[in-house]
Symmetry: none
Subunit: 497 residues, 2 copies
Amino acid sequence: MSEKFNQLKEVLGEVSDLHHVTAMLEWDQQVNMPPGGAEARGQQISTISTIAHKKATSQEVGNLLDDLEGQFAEGSDEAALVRVTSREYGKAIRVPSEFVAEQAIVTTKAFEAWIEARKKSDFSIFRPHLEKMVEMKQKYIQYFPPTEHPYDVLLDDYEPGMKTSEVKEIFNNLRPRQVDLIKKIKSAKQVKDDFLHKAYNEKKVWDFSETIISQFGYNFNRGRQDKAAHPFQTTFSVNDTRITNRFEEGSPLSTLFSAMHEAGHAMYEQGSNPAYERTPLAGGTSLAVHESQSRMWENLVGRSLPFWEHFLPKLKKSFPSQLDGLSVKSFYNAINKVEPSLIRVNADEATYNLHVMLRLEMEIGMIEGKFAIKDLPQIWNEKMNDYLGIVPPNDAQGVLQDIHWSSGLMGYFSTYALGNLVSAQLWEKINADITDLDEQIRAGKFDALLGWLREKIHVFGHKYDPQDLVQKVTGSKIDAAAYVRYLTRKYSAIYEL
Amino acid sequence: MSEKFNQLKEVLGEVSDLHHVTAMLEWDQQVNMPPGGAEARGQQISTISTIAHKKATSQEVGNLLDDLEGQFAEGSDEAALVRVTSREYGKAIRVPSEFVAEQAIVTTKAFEAWIEARKKSDFSIFRPHLEKMVEMKQKYIQYFPPTEHPYDVLLDDYEPGMKTSEVKEIFNNLRPRQVDLIKKIKSAKQVKDDFLHKAYNEKKVWDFSETIISQFGYNFNRGRQDKAAHPFQTTFSVNDTRITNRFEEGSPLSTLFSAMHEAGHAMYEQGSNPAYERTPLAGGTSLAVHESQSRMWENLVGRSLPFWEHFLPKLKKSFPSQLDGLSVKSFYNAINKVEPSLIRVNADEATYNLHVMLRLEMEIGMIEGKFAIKDLPQIWNEKMNDYLGIVPPNDAQGVLQDIHWSSGLMGYFSTYALGNLVSAQLWEKINADITDLDEQIRAGKFDALLGWLREKIHVFGHKYDPQDLVQKVTGSKIDAAAYVRYLTRKYSAIYEL
């Protein structure tokens, strides 16, 4: 068997190289590429992707997987590799290459239309493309055996094994509690955050962000941070996982939180077992677990009081005039200010998940055919009013704000909220295991925390499915209770509820 | 035939994409990659190179070429495409994929070792890698039918059709004249250049370099300049051709000349006929012709009196204290100062070719097995003493200075000197066609010059072989006479010989 296993690994290694090369081409496109390079770059990415798809769905891989199935001890890395590869292969071969090619064309056009629609804040420009996209997704679902809910097929691509009904149940449990908390906060005394919106020197903020994430344990010998239009994390190998960031005049310190967020993703990737390199076991197990890492470093660490007890004195040294005389409690309150807002990516922790729930409901409605695409802006605005008590003044700040649908990403959004929930579940367990974590953070020490995450989460890569991993580490599946406890405790203190 | 021709172009397009992707991976390796990324990057480059090699040497391509040979009118682009592709195919099918893959891995490791060796000025770090590299080159040569000299095989990869004996003859003709000129200069009154070695602000020099090359016509919408250990130019498409540069404290203004040099390469690539994209006809026809472009912009333009009559007043505005009261003639003399020196890329025009001849002899000696690699530093130093009368104080400034051998580039060096010769041949023709070129340069206008180069050289890409192109444009093959005339005239004026 070991010869066939090595043959399989050989092909998977090439496929992995091709995926990482595509990631490199896309990273350069966002970070460096001069405008003229776009057309040829699209062609190059298409060439590499096509070769990767052909290799990954070849008869050779199918035969090797058939031969290897059930040949390795349960729980072994080998068995996990065969299981994960078989699942991906089984999904990939169901989708005809003509569909993949058509999807690519639909997506390219949809993305261009979305850019224009958002610029002009005119949903009608995007509408026919979104209609086509939903049709494509419905067609995609038909390639798979019937599931409990058709949306399950889409969700499974990002959160293997997760069902729509499970997500709905988790969210139904969470929603009233978050809505109730926001109501209480609304009628409490508001916090001041004007000093966050003063002018800050870009280079100093950037350097400070790198000081923080270096101290977290993000290894710059195995990564780097570059400027791009949007913050993101990408992986070229376990030893080269990069992040991007941006600087916004109106919200200068958000660069710090974006760096912590993306470094959270990157440290997960940097901590993956090196033995899994060039196999489907490398990297993070799902988007929700990935997001649990990024949100933990950004919020549970980076928006905590002990963290700023350590870092605020240093930040004051870089920005004495902006932060003069400020207490750490005032700074902490300000960076945790709750305010229902229009844009998901800028939302605070108390309101963020409601943005996600809204999108999940919209996607399910679209896939079920319950929502006509033409009615989407109206439905969006009604839901925003229901959930957050505000209505977007235009579609650019409403239904057109996210890149996902234009890029063919449906089934993705709920993982953002699930990630928040998992981060809190892990946090309770971590604090039970590392009883002086607050003091460590107050001293600027993160090695025990990172060590815990490496040992319990990162090193396993894709070996365990997300629900199994969360169960194994925390003793329960993904669940809202810990997150509700976390939010309630945090905001009760800040808003004196 | 048109259907088969399109089938061929389809495959060649994919191969071209893969080559450009490899160039992107290598560029990132030199410009951005964190140290940890090296191993995986080597693997990725190897995977892409192997796929490219397999596609380019497939039976399908062989059959299509057989069918298409002689089917197109002589002189047509189609006939050129079939001819150039057939030649490359004929060479490529001789080299096994396993060799290509191994070469990629050897090269990545050799490059990392060279970086460290040069940093520590310790040849012993690089030595085993260079030994392996030479072994690989000797093995490579064995895949080809016997040639007049084994080194011909390596030379032909960079200068199609050129033989070692021809290069030796050109160089034998040139060497005594250059040595004689240097002797005369040595006994003449020396020029002052102390102001070139003062402290200059790096960012201002960098910005000035970009002002110059923008004015030349290098298009930053279709390229960019980045910092790297070594200046080089690379192409990802006709619309994305990038350059790198560096800043050296001891020789701060050399950044300007490196930018002009690399922009000369890049403008050649930017001027290639867009219809040749994704075919072997795209880009420059040979390294010597490529170098004729870079050296022309760097030296015949960038180290000329009219050029600095235009730019010196501007440079003085950026660096008033360093250049205060300096006449343009003094500046011109200083940047053309002849002084036997250690580093090829910083060598003046009178001594540069001697550095190249030294390397050619070293390479031939290595390939013939006449020189043991362990003796290389000593041989290098002896030859430096023979040719230039100086001996490097360490290996970093001696045998370790060039990137080429670490990158698997052997057979390459002589094209630098040939490029100098071609630049002078072209320059005589250009000045016959554009009779007021000096006045144009004095006014900072380069569009007629760039237009001439585009029309006579750039647009043809790889359509004509180098010797044929030089013949077509100048009326004779590559020849040292024009360069000797140019050097003699220039230095007789500067040194009042």
